[in-house]
Symmetry: D2
Subunit: 152 residues, 4 copies
């Protein structure tokens, strides 16, 4: 059983991530959990593509949104959950690559609202990465209950 | 072979939609194609959920982004393709329901850039719907080639 | 002294608007106050222009942001104040015209967060209007104290 | 007459800035012009405030939007002009301070579209600064003619 705060935070994020069935559907994995920073990765596969064979913008948005939400969660006391209330994403390049990495950083923690920015990097097979999307996201802290009712 | 413009437009959008492998992964279907308006629907299933059992915001963003892009495409001459360059989405309520419907309308067509707004409605099994997300999206027209290279 | 709720709401919004010194700097006026809807107008003048002689996007954003915030306020109980936490605006046409009108509607009221959409219409001198910008905005309710401290 | 490219770029941005009458109305000044980066500052004054005495979000958006547009312009060949097509801003803290500084950086230059991110810093009188807003903005390159007609 973990007893240092960093390990507990990572365990908590990992447990929540595993309940996100959509992340498994995407083939996404949790790569990094630090205070104020979370990285989620998804390898390329055909089932994630749009009409030109690139990864669909919705896939990038999905991993970026989850990474931002978990980055926000790492800055909150235990017993809190987090809901994304809105995000905006710029799609900077066609999403070509072997692996897509959403790297989220909290830029303003807050008691009620937390703001994160998330870079999405497209990596080819040789370790070269290019910024292919940038998200700015707002999350709201809520009491962590399974029956949460209202975002507004 | 369709010879009226409305039917040709629908055929063209349908053909592109079928090449979007990610829409099949989500279980999404094209419900309506009109000039300046496209509706995409996705039924609830466990594989689309986040940690609280609601549909993941990324699923809503994915169908809204596709619906907005196709709505933009219906306002363009044949031989054009469309890329979303950015979008912003507000998540208004937890995504609870049996069916999620992204209803996209072009609010400003343009030669280079087209702006759409997209309502995402959560429907229960009895035909009652609630607005659960709202997107504002910018698309760019590009020459329709399989080897398109740059979004910027 | 007003004793119907609609009149009280209008009086309250008007009083707050008059404390907004920046609205006077812009030459803006409060045109309509209804439950869930507020309109703010600003006539064209040279001091509001950008380098091509059109009205600066920041002017449109300023009146749209204020209109959205006040529209949110009309849906809240007395004793609440409202802060915009974020907004996104699409600039759809060059801001040419004699008068600019930000027409804000609440699309999702909430206890903590309220979301509004705001159309900005450019009117020529003959009563013809064109949509020149569209904003989507999130506001947060706060206790109405002169010394409010934190947005987050 | 300047003959090095950096000086020419600065001269060009300065000349355009001086035609922006709204910047003079705000009391804003151009502080830094580098390739891919522009800083605009505005000192506090009463005429820029909202109802609680802080600087209006629209003022921050106005200088951030101008700084982002000029940062985009510095990455383009001469004979081009730039139009902001959309922006999104998060208001992270109440805008309290003696000076507000919008620091814009291009994160993705492009032939047609350029994306910038802009930090808005609130400085007290002693040189201490806090991030009070963050903008993500999309600009479009246009041929530099006084009679430009269409944003779309």
């Amino acid at each position: 059983m973990p007893d240092d705060p960093g390990q507990m935070m990572e365990t908590r994020v990992q447990a929540s991530f595993e309940r996100m069935r959509f992340m498994a559907t995407l083939g996404a994995r949790l790569a990094t959990v630090e205070r104020g920073r979370v990285v989620i990765e998804v390898p390329f596969r055909q089932g994630l593509t749009q009409q030109h064979g690139f990864v669909h913008a919705g896939v990038l948005a999905s991993i970026a949104d989850s990474a931002g939400g978990y980055a926000a969660l790492t800055t909150m006391p235990a017993g809190r959950s987090v809901l994304a209330v809105e995000f905006k994403i710029n799609l900077l390049r066609p999403a070509k690559g072997a692996l897509f990495r959403a790297d989220a950083k909290v830029i303003k923690p807050g008691r009620t609202l937390t703001v994160a920015e998330i870079d999405v990097i497209a990596e080819d097979g040789s370790g070269n990465g290019k910024l292919c999307a940038r998200m700015q996201q707002t999350c709201m802290a809520v009491a962590d209950r399974p029956d949460i009712a209202v975002a507004g």
